[in-house]
């Protein structure tokens, strides 16, 4: 059964896609994918989205990537960098995977970057897109189908400018990605940041911060509160009666957290390069079949992983299934010759996508579920700010 991704008893792996074919086709003519998705701890919902998105891609491709039968080795990074390194090494050296795909969080990506790329294996991140590997740290064996984090935050900065907000209150968790969020936001917002508040990652209660927001009376707030932090903040923000102050956010209200936020998040803003309501045939098919299969609304984590599967399919097809010639394979991946759920898709010189970014708003669908929907395009064919520093070998 698809979706339960378990590993077989002998340490052999099962993705069990198109099962009968798989039994005969392995290993000759097959391709092995190490799929890194966190399944442990509070952030497991994001990993599940990512995994299901990739598996949905494989379903649409009949369990094949570029004509080769695909086998998925599921890797749970447990959101612990050393664990991720150990498990990824196992996948590379023992299971001999041909590609490593996935990764929700940047710290995990940073940890597995060297082991994977030094083994001359292609690493396709379908979510984490830190600046570290976009500029001087860009790598010929690394691609991402998502974005550079800074871009997403800068979308909100631009949206605030467009909206004419003069005074914005900024609140993020006190860690690297939080600090990057502030930098990204400020790169395009030229008004006054009335206050910058850094909260601990283990924050439960936002009352103290909400009181500060009320006292500051800003035109809008910008926040980046992933996972459970965002669930707590959104509900408490609504309960404190602050919803009249526009709530603009990144990775705070999305389809992974909306089931828990519900009506409290309605009308709140977010930014991304994709939303479930995006109007193109590839996306309509993806969203419809994904919901039918997994019974929940896909988020960007799923959509970008789906694109990841499509990208690999196109590249392997281009090289005729020959995975040995790394140079040819790289050229084929770089071509990105597939139909993205985002409409158009192409890679920049640093292997990060060059794409449009949208302002999104949370809305209630006719069936009662919540999803983000496109409001307007904010940035067009945007290149991330680090690309110029990249000297791709």
């Amino acid at each position: 059964m698809i979706g339960i991704g378990r590993r077989g008893l002998l340490g052999a792996t099962t993705g069990l896609l198109a099962a009968p074919a798989l039994l005969h086709a392995q290993p000759a003519g097959g391709v092995k994918i190490g799929l890194v998705a966190v399944q442990t701890g509070p952030q497991a919902a994001l990993g599940t989205q990512l995994r299901d998105g990739f598996l949905q891609g494989l379903r649409h491709l009949d369990g094949k990537l570029g004509g080769l039968t695909a086998e998925v080795v599921h890797i749970d990074d447990e959101l612990r960098p050393e664990v991720a390194v150990t498990k990824v090494r196992a996948a590379l050296e023992r299971d001999r995977v041909d590609f490593v795909v996935g990764v929700v969080f940047s710290n995990i990506l940073a940890a597995i970057m060297r082991p994977v790329t030094e083994a001359e294996t292609f690493l396709i991140s379908t979510n984490a897109g830190p600046s570290t590997f976009a500029g001087r740290g860009c790598n010929p064996f690394f691609f991402t189908t998502s974005y550079n984090n800074d871009q997403v935050h800068s979308v909100i900065g631009q949206a605030c400018e467009d909206q004419g907000y003069k005074r914005v209150f900024v609140m993020v968790p006190n860690y690297q990605a939080g600090r990057d969020a502030v930098a990204g936001f400020k790169s395009r917002f030229k008004g006054e940041v009335v206050d910058e508040v850094y909260v601990p990652l283990t924050q439960l209660d936002f009352s103290a911060e909400l009181a500060r927001i009320a006292a500051a009376r800003p035109d809008a707030i910008f926040t980046f509160m992933p996972g459970g932090l965002g669930v707590n903040l959104v509900r408490q923000y609504r309960q404190a009666g602050l919803a009249s102050i526009p709530f603009l956010s990144t990775f705070t209200v999305d389809e992974a957290t909306l089931p828990a936020q519900g009506a409290a998040a309605e009308g709140f803003f977010s930014a991304a390069s994709w939303a479930p309501n995006m109007d193109n045939p590839q996306n309509a098919r993806f969203v419809r079949d994904f919901e039918a299969q997994f019974n929940y609304v896909p988020a960007t984590y799923a959509a970008q992983a789906y694109d990841g599967a499509m990208l690999l399919d196109s590249a392997i097809r281009k090289v005729g299934g020959n995975l040995r010639d790394k140079g040819a394979l790289r050229t084929a991946i770089r071509a990105a010759d597939f139909t993205s759920v985002r409409g158009t898709f192409r890679f920049g010189a640093n292997h990060y996508p060059v794409q449009d970014f949208w302002l999104l708003k949370v809305a209630r669908r006719p069936d009662g579920k919540f999803q983000t929907e496109t409001v307007r395009k904010v940035l067009e064919a945007n290149v991330d700010p680090w690309a110029a520093e990249c000297r791709m070998r």
Binding site: P42, A44, A45, V199, T202, Q239, A256, P259
Partner: protein, 307 residues
């Protein structure tokens, strides 16, 4: 910072303290009476939140969730007690830590298997919706007022139970001198089971109340557990009064520290560095306070008289 904002922040600190007390009360009771370190108290809090959320969703009413959730949390506590904890009372603290950690792993994973990894939603009951404007533009949710009241009432009730009733007297006596109590014809084993189940119910109660404020998700008990331990250690292990005051103290230190540390550091650092360093300092502040208090009063602020 204006006086008004300072007062609001103090109120927020008290409210965090009350929430911590609700979790810490059961912990200090079990720890103090039975000398049993129950790391699983945090997951019992989580289990309470999940059970409450599931029952509320099934019945369509928060109140039914609360009413049915309490006996369910009690029952879950009893099952754990019979299966695991009962066999650990006579073992050293190390064994208790290890075994209860095993329970944490199991239950954190268990709720994920049953309810999925995504956070659940618990709506605020209709009766307690809305808020009171405590400063311009800021509503203080009525639900939180109710939680405050519930916390204070729980504290009072516990104090009365332990200090003023026959059951409480037996419990206190059973902790210091089990043989003597047994000689009076009381089944000490059953007494401990009851205390434990009651502690589990308190944890569940805290979890159910927290549902509409915090996200209900796997692992939600882990951070709370550590803070609750800080509370009971500062307060003096086994002391309900100590736990209550220490919880308020921790809540105030945490909340006021968060709002004031960045401003204070701005006197010596540039604003951006001050904000980040201030936030890091604020998250440490509770632990600094605990280390300082233990350094000068190694048994906590209100050590329990031990016989």
């Amino acid at each position: 910072m204006t006086t008004q904002l300072l007062l609001v922040q103090a109120l927020n600190g008290l409210q965090l303290g009350i929430l911590l007390f609700l979790v810490a009360a059961g912990l200090t009771l079990v720890f103090g009476v039975m000398d049993f370190i129950n790391l699983a108290h945090g997951v019992q809090y989580m289990l309470g939140a999940y059970i409450g959320a599931a029952l509320a969703a099934a019945t369509g009413s928060f109140w039914w969730g609360l009413l049915l959730g309490l006996p369910a949390a009690l029952a879950a506590g009893l099952v754990l007690e019979v299966l695991v904890f009962r066999h650990l009372y006579r073992r050293d603290h190390l064994a208790q830590v290890l075994a209860t950690f095993g329970v944490i792993l199991f239950l954190n994973e268990g709720v994920k298997v049953v309810w999925g990894a995504a956070p659940l939603q618990v709506p605020i009951p209709a009766l307690l919706q809305g808020g009171i404007e405590i400063m311009p533009g800021l509503q203080y949710p009525i639900y939180r007022v109710a939680v405050l009241a519930a916390g204070v009432a729980t504290g009072g009730l516990l104090w009365w139970l332990v200090e003023r009733t026959r059951a409480g007297m037996l419990v206190r006596a059973g902790a210091t001198n089990p043989q003597m109590v047994a000689a009076l014809g009381v089944d000490v084993g059953r007494l401990f089971t009851l205390v434990f189940a009651f502690g589990a119910m308190l944890a569940g109660f805290a979890g159910i109340l927290a549902g509409p404020i915090f996200s209900v998700e796997p692992g939600m008990g882990d951070n709370v557990l550590i803070l609750a331990f800080v509370v009971i250690v500062i307060g003096g292990i086994g002391s309900i009064r100590g736990a209550f005051l220490a919880a308020l103290l921790v809540g105030l230190i945490d909340t006021l520290g968060k709002s004031m540390a960045p401003d204070l550091l701005r006197l010596v650092l540039d604003p951006s560095a001050a904000r980040q360093a201030g936030a890091a300092l604020a998250s440490m502040l509770v632990y600094v306070a605990m280390a300082a208090i233990l350094a000068f009063r190694p048994a906590g602020l209100f050590p329990v008289r031990t016989g």
